[in-house]
């Protein structure tokens, strides 16, 4: 009996760590832009897919570059892919204006560096290496994780640039932004479905199957890594928001969007950074989720994303601690419901909780009520 309780507690912790990671992203974007980014759950799904392709690619299961071709052809291929990624990066970082007569070489230097690095990496790995042993897998894991986070955040920032920013500049009704976000999510799901078909991909095992024995409960290393990652990420985020200049700028933007640009704070850069952070968290969550539940399908993000949103609301949206605690709270609730009643009622219960909280205490557990001036 006792060991099942411990086992279930670890399951809840694991589930909670995914919810928290995604809820943190919701929370950041909402805090800065007052926008519920409905596409966030699908960005998590995109993260899982990106992790899959990155891992299998690095493991050499499919080559980007046609093998047995001359070096020049390989370089052209690698350069082409690198160009796409560099273009995406240049889209995200803005060139700094300089005074007349001065030369600023930092922007082309950064982009050139990125381009050359990616070209080299693709050239090196693009021919398909065979990585089979356990130590190699750890290396793959170590490379995949940052790669997934970066690529997923590029996707998130890209969505912000093409879909939300024009609306923001027009000063459109907030409703339109919400609708756009909702539609973006559907586009991601069905775009994925039409690109990759309905075949479900299975995620490769990256970490060795080491199982610890904690008071009679079996805890695998993937489970532990998910829990550890969520705590680390929360600590990092808390540090960024409370202790760095960027975090201060984020809080300033959420306090007053109109006065901030007048104080010399680059509003756009702050918003991009927010999306970058949130989406990279979602990407990390996607990767860890795929490592634990290794079947990917295009609609995996919808429900998990929703649950994470519920978690963010439970905690009080716009507060990082609230989102983090809310994720674990919801996970424990769900695990208890599944253990006591049945697992089919889980979704029903969690959505009912959402409705109850929104009617009874719309600001959540940690949120502060706002007053509107008339």
């Amino acid at each position: 009996m006792f060991d099942t309780v411990i086992q279930q507690a670890f399951n809840a912790l694991q589930l909670g760590s995914y919810y928290s990671l995604i809820a943190l992203g919701y929370c950041l974007v909402y805090g800065v832009l007052l926008l519920i980014n409905f596409a966030h759950g699908d960005i998590f799904m995109v993260g899982a897919y990106i992790a899959f392709f990155a891992a299998t690619y690095i493991m050499g299961q499919h080559a980007l570059i046609p093998p047995n071709s001359p070096i020049m052809v390989k370089l052209v291929f690698a350069g082409f892919f690198a160009l796409i990624i560099t273009a995406a990066v240049s889209f995200a970082i803005k060139k700094k204006p300089v005074a007349a007569g001065q030369k600023n070489y930092s922007y082309p230097a950064i982009l050139g560096g990125i381009f050359i690095t990616i070209t080299a990496a693709i050239y090196y790995w693009g021919q398909g290496m065979k990585l089979e042993s356990g130590a190699d897998k750890i290396l793959v894991f170590a490379v995949t994780m940052p790669l997934t986070m970066i690529l997923t955040s590029v996707v998130g920032v890209f969505i912000e640039r093409v879909a939300y920013k024009p609306l923001r500049l027009k000063g459109a009704n907030r409703l339109y932004v919400v609708i756009t976000a909702l539609m973006m999510g559907i586009i991601l799901e069905y775009g994925n479905l039409s690109l990759l078909g309905t075949s479900r991909l299975s995620f490769p095992t990256l970490l060795p199957r080491i199982v610890f024995d904690v008071a009679g409960a079996k805890v695998s290393i993937t489970k532990l890594s998910a829990i550890a990652a969520s705590f680390l990420m929360f600590a990092l985020l808390q540090w960024i928001v409370t202790r760095t200049k960027l975090g201060m700028a984020m809080r300033a933007v959420s306090y007053d969007k109109f006065a901030v640009p007048l104080m010399g704070i680059p509003l756009d850069a702050v918003i991009v950074f927010t999306f970058f952070l949130g989406s990279s968290m979602a990407g990390l969550a996607g990767m860890l989720y795929a490592m634990n539940f290794p079947v990917l399908d295009p609609f995996m993000g919808a429900l998990v994303g929703w649950k994470a949103f519920v978690a963010a609301v439970v905690g009080g949206i716009g507060d990082i601690r609230g989102a983090f605690v809310g994720g674990f709270l919801l996970a424990f609730l769900e695990v208890i419901v599944a253990a006591v009643f049945s697992s089919e009622l889980r979704d029903l219960i969690s959505f009912t909780i959402l409705l109850g909280i929104l009617t009874w205490k719309p600001t959540g557990l940690f949120g502060k009520p706002k007053t509107t001036k008339i």
Partner: protein, 338 residues
């Protein structure tokens, strides 16, 4: 004097055409189904326009209420007329089906309107995106509740409505479903038009402009919201009932967020706060869907993309908040809209 008779006369002529054309052979089964789905689209779009257009809230859980109506109508109909392993022997003979069908639809309407309370009551306190979340959550809750009820087949779905349509055919052989859907559309447009240009509708529009000011100017905002939400979801339930009998099979999978998205696209395409706009956009959208059929899954990339582009470049839609008679003033000779 002419404007009192024009519209009813035109409607009767249309109804006569609908009954006569299949008999002469001018309208095949494909055409009938297409017109029926168009009618259902019109009901959905016009009813959602009441909340999303006239009241300016954002409800994206329309499919949930449609599901309530569809399931209630199906269960009531099967319970009354069809021998079924769950509900036992029928209570009434098949010959009564044409007379009982409005009652069946009304049951769906009432059930969906009651389900609308789930959204209407939280809407007293919350607004904007949180209300959007509540509507979405409500539709998820309804869907997942239906999936958990084994009596109506759970996730597999529920059938047996086809026999009722056949029973109506046995009484008089006319395209019954098309007639009922036509009557449903007429009822929807009639009641919405009456509602929107009554004192109540003025109150709803006042809420759209400024809720606090409306409250101060003695509009009972809670009552207005309650009525608007319940009417809107009730009409969605009517559409759901008609839909269930049209394809004679319902399952929870057909009432997902995609269905709600279709409704949203129609409302914003037609224009927020324009009844004729939502009718027009439903017709355009039905034709568009017919053209997008070969795309299969890509259809669901195209439709959201259409809505995103609408939001970017023309958020007011085709008509804005004007009616057809505002665009073509000569029409006012035949009917008065406001």
């Amino acid at each position: 004097m002419g404007n009192r008779i024009t519209v009813p006369a035109a409607l009767c002529a249309l109804l006569f055409l609908m009954v006569a054309m299949p008999h002469v052979g001018l309208l095949g089964q494909y055409g009938i189904t297409f017109l029926c789905s168009m009618g259902i689209f019109i009901i959905l779009s016009a009813s959602l326009n009441l909340v999303n257009g006239y009241m300016g809230e954002f409800s994206c859980g329309h499919a949930g209420f449609m599901a309530v109506g569809a399931y209630t109508s199906s269960v009531v109909g099967v319970f009354l007329f069809v021998p079924d392993q769950v509900f036992g022997q029928p209570w009434l003979p098949m010959a009564l089906t044409p007379f009982a069908f409005p009652v069946i639809l009304a049951a769906g309407f009432i059930a969906a309107a009651l389900a609308g309370l789930v959204v209407a009551i939280p809407s007293f306190k919350t607004r904007g995106d949180y209300l959007a979340v509540i509507t979405l959550a409500a539709s998820y809750i309804i869907k997942s509740a239906i999936e958990n009820v084994e009596a109506v087949g759970g996730p597999r779905g529920f059938a047996g409505m086809g026999k009722i349509v056949q029973g109506m055919d046995a009484v008089v052989s006319i395209p019954w479903m098309m007639v009922w859907i036509f009557l449903g559309v007429t009822f929807t447009i009639w009641i919405l038009r009456r509602f929107v240009y009554s004192t109540y509708g003025k109150g709803v529009m006042a809420i759209h402009q400024d809720e606090v000011a409306a409250e101060i100017m003695s509009v009972n905002t809670n009552k207005m919201k309650l009525i608007a939400f319940m009417l809107s979801s009730g009409l969605a339930g009517l559409a759901g009932g008609l839909y269930a009998y049209l394809i004679s099979f319902v399952n929870p999978g057909s009432f997902t967020i995609l269905r709600s998205t279709e409704c949203l696209v129609m409302v914003y395409l037609g224009g927020m706060g324009s009844l004729t706009g939502s009718v027009l956009s439903a017709i355009v959208f039905a034709i568009l869907l017919e053209f997008l059929k070969p795309l299969e899954q890509l259809k669901w990339v195209a439709i959201p993309l259409l809505l995103i582009l609408l939001m970017q470049f023309r958020p007011e839609g085709i008509m804005g908040n004007r009616e057809l008679s505002d665009v073509f003033p000569k029409l006012k000779r035949f009917y008065r809209f406001k």
